[in-house]
Subunit: 208 residues, 2 copies
């Protein structure tokens, strides 16, 4: 079996075990057994438990970012781009609950190197959303362009909203609430807001 | 000095040290020194490092929830209630960066008991926002009432957006971006969306 196939099986097994047991409790014995490999081979290929965990974080984050990017057709209208991006985000996290648990819970909870790694990967998701909002604003023909810092803030808000909603929605086992319903909820919250904002129709507090 | 004053000083010192050093690296010696108390007295009053950390989580979360609740005047119009709640959230987290670091980073990163505690306290913030949205929907005179599950989803999305935006905005040291700007960004994203939604004007994807 080629090394890359073997490695993929090991990372598959590791994602499952880390998600279930948590980083600290997970054992390399269990990961090797689930991967159908010997423990020395796991160490030979992936080096250490730390490196294996990093490999899980990287692979799961890349897969999530790729799923969102692939869904966003640059030729589609702005609302459709956002909708497709949200659909992909919630569908992917619902279909890969172990990967999502590694990224959203485990990776943040076990110290600096992993937390920094996941923060850098999350920033790439924020960058995708930032470009999406900036393009929308340009197309909206907003008389006063949205400042870059506000676009970045909006992207951080949207990503945080999606993460929080996915955590809640995916945790509702047996509720029958689908990932499509989560995408619709966030689209409904965000679109009319973004739609107005990128057309120069800002909300402002009444003077008081 | 009354015990409660002493305890408050100890928790003050602990929040500062936990935020700076992280839970594991923080030393009870440093906390005691900063509190101007002896280490045995800290143990006598707060029992253990674990219990002291829990006391920090509880106090900082209660303070944040109280600040948001106090800002939301039930007699104000719906957009003003949301605006005041957001203003309070961003102002409080910006004014208490150590408390925010304990809640948002440290408490989630050090195992089950703390993560569960902070999740339960976060749920109370979600509940405040859920009621706010439900009240808004009722007042909006929405022909088809928003389902309770969607209201809960919206609340989770808004709280996640606020956390993410606060983390980004408060981390921009020296950028001059204020907590008011963060509140305006989220209000602009959310209000027109919520405003439409609670009036029965939903976004729906074009058939494709």
């Amino acid at each position: 079996m080629p090394r890359e196939v073997r490695e993929r099986q090991m990372v598959d097994a590791a994602v499952e075990v880390f998600a279930r047991r948590g980083y600290r409790t997970a054992s390399m014995d269990e990961i090797a057994e689930l991967a159908g490999a010997s423990k020395p081979l796991v160490y030979l290929y992936l080096n250490s438990k730390e490196d294996l965990f990093s490999a899980c974080i990287r692979r799961e984050a890349e897969a999530l970012i790729a799923a969102v990017q692939a869904a966003v057709d640059p030729a589609a209208p702005a609302d459709r781009r956002l909708w497709n991006g949200l659909r992909a985000f919630f569908a992917h996290t619902a279909a890969h609950p172990d990967g999502w648990a590694v990224l959203h819970c485990q990776a943040r909870s076990h110290g600096e190197p992993f937390a920094l790694e996941v923060a850098a990967l999350r920033q790439r998701l924020v960058d995708v959303v930032t470009r999406l909002i900036a393009d929308t604003a340009r197309e909206g023909g907003c008389a006063v362009p949205l400042p870059g810092e506000e676009v970045a803030g909006l992207a951080h808000a949207l990503v945080g909203a999606a993460e929080s909603l996915a955590g809640w929605s995916n945790g509702l086992t047996g509720s029958g609430r689908s990932d499509r319903a989560a995408a619709e909820t966030l689209m409904n919250l965000a679109w009319a807001g973004l739609g107005n904002l990128t057309n120069g129709r800002r909300w402002a507090p009444a003077r008081s």
